[in-house]
């Protein structure tokens, strides 16, 4: 059988910088599990990446679970929002730097 790599999406999440990235990620995972269950949490394959911007968390998930992740982030008790989305992490990082320059 032909094995295909799952397509992923990379999200830049803006959060209040009084919490650590690890804590924010744990909170998102916890809320996702509460809303959609353990199986979906595993299949969504949530991963976190370093970001140079303060208060921005880069999160990746399986494309199939993208809408659920967006919903979870919108329904987090701690306020946070998705500011950018991309199919590759390199592109996302480039766009984050560009938007930072444009807005400053």
């Amino acid at each position: 059988m032909l094995s295909r790599k799952n397509r992923r999406r990379y999200l830049a999440v803006l959060y209040e910088p009084n919490k650590s990235q690890t804590q924010v990620m744990r909170d998102i995972q916890g809320r996702f599990m509460e809303l959609f269950g353990c199986l979906a949490t595993e299949l969504a394959y949530l991963r976190v990446y370093n970001s140079k911007q303060n208060g921005i968390l880069i999160l990746s998930c399986d494309l199939e679970y993208l809408e659920r992740i967006l919903f979870t982030i919108a329904m987090m008790d701690q306020s946070m929002t998705v500011v950018m989305m991309s199919g590759t992490i390199r592109k996302l990082r480039e766009r984050l730097i560009q938007s930072e320059i444009r807005l400053n």
Binding site: L14, Y15, E16, E34, L35, E67, L70, F71, I73, A74, M75, M76, D77, S79, M80, T81, V82, V83, M85, S99, L103
Partner: protein
């Protein structure tokens, strides 16, 4: 920040707290001529006090409006629900909230009202990405 999220217009209660780079709509309880050049929306939170001048009905508690809403809605009225209210709910209550929001949406569609999902954000972190819903 609003520009980054592709938000063109922001609704506020107090116009002094936002910068002038964004289009601003004032959310007021009564239309007043002394509020500068801003456009105004008359917002009502209590279903029993809806008048002909009301532009927006904000729903905070679905249980209070269950029976009254179908009688009170009229075409061109905006019915608004806030995501900020749903953020604090647990999974069970959130499921109920969604189902009730869906019912309100169906009612709005049949009554030719505008259904509005508002972020209810108090800060930039509370805004909601446009792809979410």
């Amino acid at each position: 920040m609003a520009r980054r999220l592709n938000i063109e217009t922001i609704g506020v209660k107090n116009p002094t707290v936002v910068d002038s780079s964004c289009d601003v709509v004032l959310r007021v309880k009564n239309i007043s001529p002394v509020r500068g050049n801003f456009r105004q929306l008359v917002v009502c939170e209590d279903i029993s006090s809806i008048s002909g001048k009301t532009d927006l009905l904000t729903i905070q508690d679905f249980s209070k409006i269950r029976n009254n809403l179908s009688k009170k809605v009229r075409p061109n009225l905006g019915v608004e629900i806030s995501i900020a209210d749903a953020r604090r709910l647990d999974a069970n209550a959130l499921g109920r909230w969604l189902s009730q929001a869906k019912n309100v949406y169906r009612l709005c569609k049949s009554a030719r009202c505008q259904f509005i999902i508002s972020s209810g954000a108090q800060s930039i972190f509370g805004m909601v990405s446009s792809r979410t819903f």
